[in-house]
Symmetry: C2
DNA sequence: CAAAAAATTGAACACTGTTCAATGGTTTTT
DNA sequence: AAAAACCATTGAACAGTGTTCAATTTTTTG
């Protein structure tokens, strides 16, 4: 194992503490002072290693996308049938979000002013999350299992759908008579349904 | 018109300024001091009329739901055909959100800790927004135009879908090669499609 | 007019992200 | 080894946040 210099250790320690606090309290309930206190250093030192709280957050955002994409790509490989693959992909996304709400928040719910500084090259990894869905939709269309005019657009549509379900669940806005599981399962079903061939006698 | 007492005038003035600042800057970029400065009073006075910034926000949230529900109910009345009505309802919701992003933010994007204090009786008006969709879905099913097992659940599903599209658009997370209009139209189409009768030969 | 009540102020508290001159500690250069 | 350069670190400060509260003014009531 590569020996870490004292500086690297402190940098890692700042990240470790921030990650821990993030998961415990969410990004908006942690401060640079809290991090410094728990690391055992001054606030100034955090700003020596990271140029802002946002940059600290961005590092964790990247971690989050690594986790998500890993889950999605493993789901992708696990299913031959592209329709099943689409369902598995959706489930992977939704489960990741439910299990890691604080990561999900920094990855997908930060306002543009905080994300504007997010390094452009890192967006690529973020985009892979949508591309894996687009690929699968393309496969579904190719095998004539679904109607998909524009896979990339429809991937964004599916993504939006899931994002909406997740954010409303996490904001506790769904009527409590509807269980979270019910919402999740219904969402997956409708993501499939909306791409199926419609019956001929539908009123368009 | 009822003559307003000085106290009522100041209360209204605080609300007017807050509304104006909300629309200009969004809830997270306005402070009680900014409001006080623009009203021409001290911060303390704001806390005499409203017990917190959240209570001030809640008043505007109610305004927002009045606007939204009005739009939805007028769209509801405008269409005999329930499928067309569903499309019109969706369009009303989406347009409201796009035209009033700051209202939408306080209505649907505030975290539970701020909404927890939101008075329970006011939630009723908020719920009407989902109930009008549920009614329409029920009508679609009754006339055998759509397959809707549980209208209330499916109304939540449609709502989540729209909420996801709106929030991702407003957070500027959609690939810029996809126009906002394209997303909106695709979403409305899919809300209809996902409820249609599927063709018999679909791989479920 | 005096007393009670309501409305209003301004200072304070405990936070927030961020900056920066001053410091101590290592290396590197002479 | 001494001097210079560099890196890492601190603590105080700045300007901002939501909120509280004793003191004060203004208005209403008896």
């Amino acid at each position: 194992m590569a020996t870490e210099s004292k500086t690297e250790i402190i940098r890692r320690s700042i990240l470790d503490v921030t990650r821990k606090l993030l998961v415990e309290k969410g990004i908006n309930n942690i401060s640079t002072r809290m991090i410094a206190r728990q690391v055992g250093c001054s606030v100034g030192l955090i700003y020596f290693h990271f140029k802002s709280k946002d940059e600290l957050t961005h590092t964790l955002i990247e971690e989050g996308f690594d986790m998500l994409v890993e889950r999605q790509e493993s789901a992708e490989k696990a299913h031959e049938n592209p329709v099943e693959r689409l369902a598995a992909l959706s489930r992977a996304y939704l489960n990741f979000a439910l299990e890691n709400p604080e990561y999900y928040e920094i990855m997908f719910m930060l306002k543009p002013e905080r994300m504007a500084r997010y390094p452009a090259e890192k967006y690529r990894k973020a985009r892979r999350s949508v591309e894996v869905v687009a690929r699968t939709l393309k496969d579904c269309a190719k095998e004539n299992l679904m109607v998909v005019e524009d896979p990339y657009l429809n991937a964004h549509i599916s993504w939006s759908f899931m994002h909406g379900v997740i954010t409303l669940i996490q904001a506790q806005r769904i009527d409590k008579r509807i269980a979270n599981d019910t919402m999740i399962e219904a969402a997956i079903e409708q993501i499939i349904r909306m791409h199926l061939h419609p019956a001929a006698d539908n009123p368009i």
